[in-house]
Structures are given as C-alpha cells and as structure tokens.
Symmetry: C2
Subunit: 115 residues, 2 copies
DNA sequence: CATTATACATTGCATCACATAGTATTGTCA
DNA sequence: TGACAATACTATGTGATGCAATGTATAATG
C-alpha cells in the first residue's frame, strides 16, 4: 500500500466515523456530562473524538435546542459546562438510533459475500 | 417535533449515511458496474444515493487509483463508463469493512441501555 | 409526439471534522 | 520549588465532500 493510498484509507476511515459522532455524543448524554468527561467516556469506550470537534459540536447541538447546558463554577475547580439532553434531543436520539439500526441492516445486505 | 427540529434530524441522518457511501459503493463494485446500474443496485438494496453524489464520487475514486474504468460505446446504446475495483481498491474495501465492523461493536457499546 | 427512463457531467453552496493554537488552573514529581 | 502533564474550554482557518440544480443527449413508452 503506497503512502498516497494510506492517506486515502485514513481519510475514508475518518469519513466513516464522521457521521456517527453526533449519535455517539447523544448516546452518552443520556447521563449528564461536561465536555471533558464526555470525551473521556467516549475514548474509554473506543470512540476517539478530537477536542476541536467535540466542543464546537456541543455548542452547535445546544444552539439547535438538542442539549441544555449549565456552568458549574465551583470554587477551587476549573469551570465546567454541564450538558444534558433536551426533550428534542431525546427525540433526535431515538430517530438516529433507528436510522443507525436500519443502516446496519442495509450494509449487511451490501457486504454479503455472495458467490 | 418542530420544523427546525425536523430539519436538524434530516441533516443528521444525511451525515450518518455520508461516511458509509464509499463503503457501499466499493462493496457493490466487487462486480463490474456502470454508474447508473450501480445506483440502481444500491437503491434496490435500500441505499439511496444521489446522482450528483455518485458520479463525482466514482471519478474521485478512480483518480485515487481505487477504481479502474472503461467506456463502452456500443452502437445503438448510450455510452457507459464501466468501473471495477483495482487492487488498491480491494485493499481499501477490506480496510473499511474492518473499520465498519469495529464501529458497529463500539456503537453497540455506546448505545446499551445501561442501568 | 410528448413524457419518462437511461446515462453522465458540472457548478455552487453549505456543512462540518480536524489541526492548530491559545488561555488558565490544578496536580505530579523530581 | 519549578517544570511538565492533565484538566477544561475557546477560536480560527482549511479542506473534504454531499447535494441540489441544471444541462446534454439518446432510447423507450404511451
């Protein structure tokens, strides 16, 4: 595999993960998290997310009304912004889960080693 | 669900499918196809792809050396460009299949209804 | 003879992940 | 004590890419 091909492969793997990020994030926000702890939870479970991806994503989802957030300015600690799913966010999560499941079935059909 | 939320939901579903498109395309090109027949094969199996997505995608994959193509200029027929997987394309397909499988496992872990 | 299906191409727009860099505090370890 | 890593969040620019829209042209269908 040439260097160029390796580059293409990495790129395609990134694309593959790209679409799933929101689903991954929403799934974990069934429990309250702040950005950093959310990232750790995802990484721990095998889903690596860049900080430069996650933080803006959370702000975007909040601006779309899918998340609620609240600052925690505890004394003697760094300020944390806690996120939870809004009702709309829960509805979207349900949608995306269904779509994900459907996609799995479709892809299984496409990837069958026929003949 | 408000109109805005419906918009977000559609958008996120598009994103979800986005990353998988290349994998879907490569999977079907284990058999030779031209663009139009490839699109039909995908749609038939539940994977809807836009023409404006598919045709440029095929050109791009070819330019990256993952596909080979050949015009068929049969008399009394519309010209068709037939695509097949190159060796590099087959390698990438194998990679992506593995990544897809891994992603499935990870997502299953994330989506578990714990508690 | 008009409409639909086939077959491919192109352009501009909008979305979005990531790399990178920056700020600031807390903890660790030599 | 002083350097470095970890914590926690923000901001910006770039590149990749899907899609809607539009165009071209031929064949089939009614």
């Amino acid at each position: 595999m040439t260097k160029a091909n390796q580059q293409y492969a990495e790129n395609l793997q990134l694309e593959l993960r790209r679409g799933v990020i929101v689903l991954a994030v929403l799934s974990q926000l069934r429990q309250t998290h702040y950005g950093y702890s959310l990232r750790q939870a995802l990484v721990d479970k095998g889903f690596d997310v860049n900080e430069g991806t996650l933080y803006p994503l959370l702000r975007r989802l909040e601006s779309q009304g899918l998340l609620n957030s609240e600052w925690d300015l505890e004394e003697g600690g760094r300020p944390r912004r806690y996120y939870t799913l809004s009702e709309a966010g829960q509805a979207i999560l349900t949608d995306l889960k269904a779509e994900w499941k459907y996609l799995g079935v479709v892809m299984d059909g496409l990837l069958v080693d026929d003949k």
